[in-house]
């Protein structure tokens, strides 16, 4: 927002924007709220977890950054999808499905790691297409469609694992040829002394790519348009359906990639892996300034949102509190963020 007009406006009698204060101008950016929130959470734990030297110990930083990367990587496409006006509740369970598929291909079919990785990514593509095309063709809310996919995959993960292994997990993925290179790329430590995982690098890299895609490309403009007002966007020639399908595919494929990385890291996969994570991705995106109704949001803000979740999960334990309080904390952060976002949206849509 700008200060009141000082130049002579050529159109007389048009109402111009009123003066807005410093705070209001700061909050105009969708990611500022998340940045301030992240700083506040950091300072909170710097006090409550001072006995572990929360603020000063690089090892503590590494542990919450690793945790943040877990949610942050998949939260990038989830945020883009939300800005595009849709949800994907199957993004969490996809992590489990992909890891299990990788495990079956490498340990039961004895494939080399890399063809297995390629097939798992294709599987992600397929599920993304299924979600996206179903939503676009049926015009049903994506919340319902992907809830269906979520439960189908959840059942498939558990049932399939029992049928194939007789248990609830697939192990010994590290026996597969090609595993060592995969482990180096996906699950090694970039700073072994402090325990900083390579996944943090992937997270920050993906965030940069996502932010660039959203704010600097045609596709990014279409995402805003498709989420903000699909009818208007279609009227001016935006391929709204294709944009949405592409976002669903990106979400499922990133979830599949994260499934591969998790399976590589753990050298195995539990059949319930990823279930419940879909909400954390959504929390990260909403805390990051993405509107649930679409059309507005930020990938960088989403990274701050993921950082808040990472800090909460580590900080609550580091403060000596019971880990169940993490959920409570995340709930409070989510509610606060939604209220802030709604206020921002009202501001943006004011004076119609």
């Amino acid at each position: 927002m700008t200060p009141p007009p000082n130049a002579a406006a050529a159109a007389p009698a048009d109402e111009r924007l009123a003066h807005v204060g410093f705070l209001a101008r700061i909050f105009k950016r969708p990611d500022m709220g998340a940045l301030i929130g992240a700083l506040a959470v950091f300072l909170l734990f710097a006090w409550t977890a001072r006995q572990v030297n929360w603020a000063g110990d690089a090892g503590v930083w590494a542990s919450w950054l690793n945790t943040a990367a877990y949610d942050g990587i998949v939260a990038v496409p989830v945020a883009l999808l939300m800005i595009g006006g849709e949800f994907d509740l199957s993004a969490g369970v996809m992590i489990g499905s992909s890891g299990l598929l990788l495990g079956i291909l490498t340990t039961k079919a004895h494939w080399n790691m890399w063809p297995a990785v390629a097939v798992v990514m294709l599987f992600g593509l397929g599920i993304g297409l299924l979600n996206g095309v179903t939503v676009v063709k049926t015009k049903l809310p994506s919340f319902i469609v992907t809830l269906g996919t979520f439960f189908m995959l959840r059942g498939l993960n558990a049932g399939g694992t029992i049928k194939i292994t007789g248990g609830v997990s697939i192990n010994d993925i590290d026996q597969a040829p090609g595993f060592n290179l995969a482990h180096k790329l996906f699950a090694s430590l970039v700073w072994p002394a402090k325990g900083l995982s390579v996944s943090v690098v992937w997270w920050l890299g993906l965030t940069a790519v996502g932010a660039w895609l959203l704010s600097r490309t045609r596709f990014g403009n279409w995402i805003f348009g498709a989420g903000g007002d699909p009818t208007a966007a279609r009227n001016v020639g935006v391929p709204v359906a294709r944009t949405k399908v592409a976002l669903f595919v990106m979400t499922s494929m990133v979830a599949a990639a994260w499934g591969i990385m998790t399976a590589t890291n753990l050298r195995g996969m539990q059949s319930n892996e990823g279930v419940g994570r879909e909400f954390e991705f959504i929390i990260a995106a909403v805390v990051g300034g993405c509107l649930l109704t679409g059309g507005y949001g930020s990938v960088i803000g989403t990274a701050f949102g993921a950082a808040i979740i990472g800090m909460a999960q580590i900080g609550i334990i580091s403060s000596g509190w019971d880990s169940n309080w993490v959920y409570f904390f995340e709930g409070v952060v989510l509610l606060a963020a939604v209220m802030l976002n709604t206020a921002i949206k009202r501001r943006a849509e004011r004076a119609r």
Binding site: E15, W212, R218, G237, A351
Partner: protein, 266 residues
């Protein structure tokens, strides 16, 4: 009306009819639009204005008569066809996304790019500069192209929509009730944009139910009632009172008189 034998009009409808089942929406409607002229189509609710717009913009196909662009018979199967002939429609909802900034809206679906794949990107500096210039041509000073369209006044949003249509090569601009949702002052501002678009060489079709808005800007007035043309006047052949009279016809005159008083008062 005018014979097509003389200099061809930019856009012309000759004896066009449209039926929806047994309902006659338009019957034997003839009108024409020329470059740099404002053709006002006046009619009350149900007069057939919306059907007419939809035929001109390619949403509906006409059932009888012919549609000509520069004297050539054409047939629009989709809005895309109409747009290919340079016929742009600015709807009441304006086809703009309120949460998006002015420059993002201006180029939505037509984004200029720079660089090569895979690093091809939205040329944001160009988008900001052109949108500012083009909206400036309409007489609106955009101080901050980053401002969300939702924060603009109704009149300013019309200016953005019109400027966008003109920038993307509209030769005929169809404005569907651009003043109906606006206050008196804002409506005056939009009327100025209409004149300005015509000055830039565009043939404007201004659809309205308000003769007071049409009279000062129109070069040509076509009155529709119950799907038929009940009057066709060039500027100077008709007074404001005659337009009001012709449009209202008795019972509704009193309501319109009140509306007239409102306009005069402010």
């Amino acid at each position: 009306m005018s014979a097509p034998a003389t200099a061809p009009h930019l856009l012309e409808l000759a004896h066009v009819s449209k039926y929806f089942g047994n309902v006659v929406a338009l019957r034997d409607v003839s009108l024409h639009v020329d470059a740099s002229q404002v053709t006002c189509i006046l009619g009350d609710n149900g007069a057939g204005k919306s059907t007419l717009i939809k035929i001109l913009s390619g949403v509906h196909k006409h059932d009888g008569g012919s549609l000509r662009v520069e004297g050539k018979d054409v047939e629009f199967v989709s809005p895309r066809d109409a747009r290919a002939y340079g016929i742009a429609t600015v709807y009441q909802d304006l086809a703009m996304v309120p949460l998006m900034s002015i420059w993002r809206n201006f180029f939505l679906g037509e984004e200029p790019t720079r660089g090569r794949r895979p690093f091809r990107r939205f040329d944001i500096a160009k988008a900001k500069r052109i949108s500012r210039e083009q909206i400036g041509e309409m007489g609106v000073d955009v101080r901050d192209p980053d401002q969300p369209v939702g924060t603009l006044s109704g009149g300013e949003r019309q200016a953005v929509a019109i400027a966008r249509a003109v920038h993307f090569g509209a030769r005929v601009l169809i404005l569907d009730e651009p003043t109906s949702a606006l206050g008196v002052k804002q409506a005056g501002v939009v009327l100025r944009y209409i004149v300005r678009a015509a000055e830039r060489g565009v043939g404007v079709i201004f659809i309205t139910h308000n003769p007071h808005h049409a009279f000062p800007v129109g070069d040509h007035f076509v009155l529709l009632n119950r799907g038929k043309v009940i009057g066709d006047h060039a500027k100077g052949e008709v007074t404001r009172e005659q337009l009001v009279q012709e449009m209202a016809g008795g019972a509704e005159l009193e309501v319109l008189t009140h509306e007239l008083e409102d306009v005069v008062e402010s």
